[in-house]
Every structure is written in C-alpha cells, then in structure tokens.
Symmetry: C2
Subunit: 122 residues, 2 copies
DNA sequence: CCGTATCCGTTATGATACTG
DNA sequence: CAGTATCATAACGGATACGG
C-alpha cells in the first residue's frame, strides 16, 4: 500500500519546504512583500491561481503565523492579507534561494540540455 | 479540465523550488555534503526512501549538474555520487532556509496550535 | 551492486458552481 | 466581495519484481 509517509523526521527544514515547496506559496509571499492585498485583487494579480488554491494557500500561511488576515470595516466587507513579521523574515530566506536561482539558472539550463542530448542518442 | 499547469512563469525560483520542494532532494543534498556515497549505502542512510525514489532524485540532481555520478572501477562495479561545486553552493542557500526553519520552528508550532484550537470551538 | 519497469493507491489541485 | 463545496483527473510516490 502506498504513501504511509509516517516517518516523522522531525526535520524543521521539511516543515518549511512542505510549506513553500508548492506552486503558489512563494508567489503569494512575493506579492505580499510590497503591500497588503485583498482576496480578489490578489487572485487577479497572481496569474493562473484559482480562488480555491488562493484560499488554501492563504489559510496555510495564516495558520503558520506568516500572514495576517484583517477584516476591514467597509461595505461590502473586505479582507486584507499582509505578511507578518515572521512572514517578512521568511521572505528574506526565500530571497537567498531566489538569488541563487537567478545566478544559476543559465548553468542549470545548459546542464539539462547537455544531459538530455546525451541520452537522446539511443 | 484540471491541471493544465501550462502557465510558464519563467520564474527562476520556481525552477529551484520544483527541484528542492519534494520530499527527498534536500535530504540527499544534506547527506552528500559531508562525503560521497554509493547508491545502496545512500539508500540505507536515508530512512524510508525507496530505490526508485532515490534513483529518480539522483537522476534529477545529476541532470541539473548538482550531483556527479562516478562509476568506480571495482568488482562488482560501484557508483559514487557526490555534490558538484554547484551542488555545494545550493547547499549553502538551502542552509539559510534550514536555519530560518530552526529559528522559527517553535513559533510556527505555537501558531498552528493556536489556530487549530481557535477553530475547534465550532 | 546498481538500478529500471510496472502497477496502482493517495494526494494535490484544477474547473465549476454556489453561498453568506 | 470573500470565500466554500463538489467533482474529476493528473501527478507523485510506494511496493514489488526483474534486468544488466
């Protein structure tokens, strides 16, 4: 039977990677870095995300104390999401990875092309 | 229809996160940091990994030029995996995230517990 | 020893439609 | 506006057996 996944490594880095490893979390954190956003505005800003996935992603971030959720006293009511202090500090760590990625993107693409070409010759 | 996923963000950080976001890649990089390992030795070292997933993970890392694969001239033949220079530099970037994770693990767990408890009161 | 091939269950997530 | 409910599907990863 597949997927027991019950080996609890108690590995902090896995906790983090399980969170930021998915497709949307990082994009949301990136967007929220500059300014707070309302739900639908954010949904429009992040190309390709569905309301469902945005809701799921924001809920997870909120649960971890990385994003705050504020109900504005307007009519109709609006909800504003912003990075918490902890969220900002995570952004910093993610940014390091982003810089590494930029620095190495070209090299990685080259490696991939070489690797694929080497196998192509059956 | 679900899962088109064809929105190519051309976002370098997504390239990286797609690689390290899975369950095993980071564990492999961590293991290889200290010393090179042979396939089966590595398989025994990393608790819970199957030969299949180790092979898949190593292949991806090799393709990206992060890990080198050396066939030793022994009998029976052995294969040794090691981090390349690029792999070592990725380890550095991942390490930043690891430190963040350690520093924030307790706070995150507290936030999660609080969040879950708040919802429990139906 | 070093993997690869196959099968298949679980999970993640996209689309869509609907509610407060 | 801010989400939630439902459904279907594609991708991930585990078990197992086998090949070089």
């Amino acid at each position: 039977m597949p997927a027991p996944r019950d080996i609890d490594y108690d590995c902090p880095i896995r906790d983090v990677l399980d969170r930021i490893g998915d497709a949307w979390t990082v994009l949301v954190i990136l967007k929220l870095k500059r300014q707070p956003w309302r739900f639908n505005a954010l949904c429009r800003e992040i190309e390709g995300i569905s309301p469902r996935m945005l809701a799921v992603t924001l809920r997870r971030l909120e649960r971890d104390g990385l994003v705050s959720r504020t109900i504005l006293d307007t009519s109709p009511p609006q909800v504003e999401y912003a990075l918490t202090q902890r969220g900002v500090s995570l952004h910093g760590a993610v940014d390091v990875l982003g810089c590494w990625a930029e620095d190495n993107q070209a090299g990685i693409r080259k490696s991939r092309a070489d690797f694929d070409q080497a196998r192509e010759r059956t």
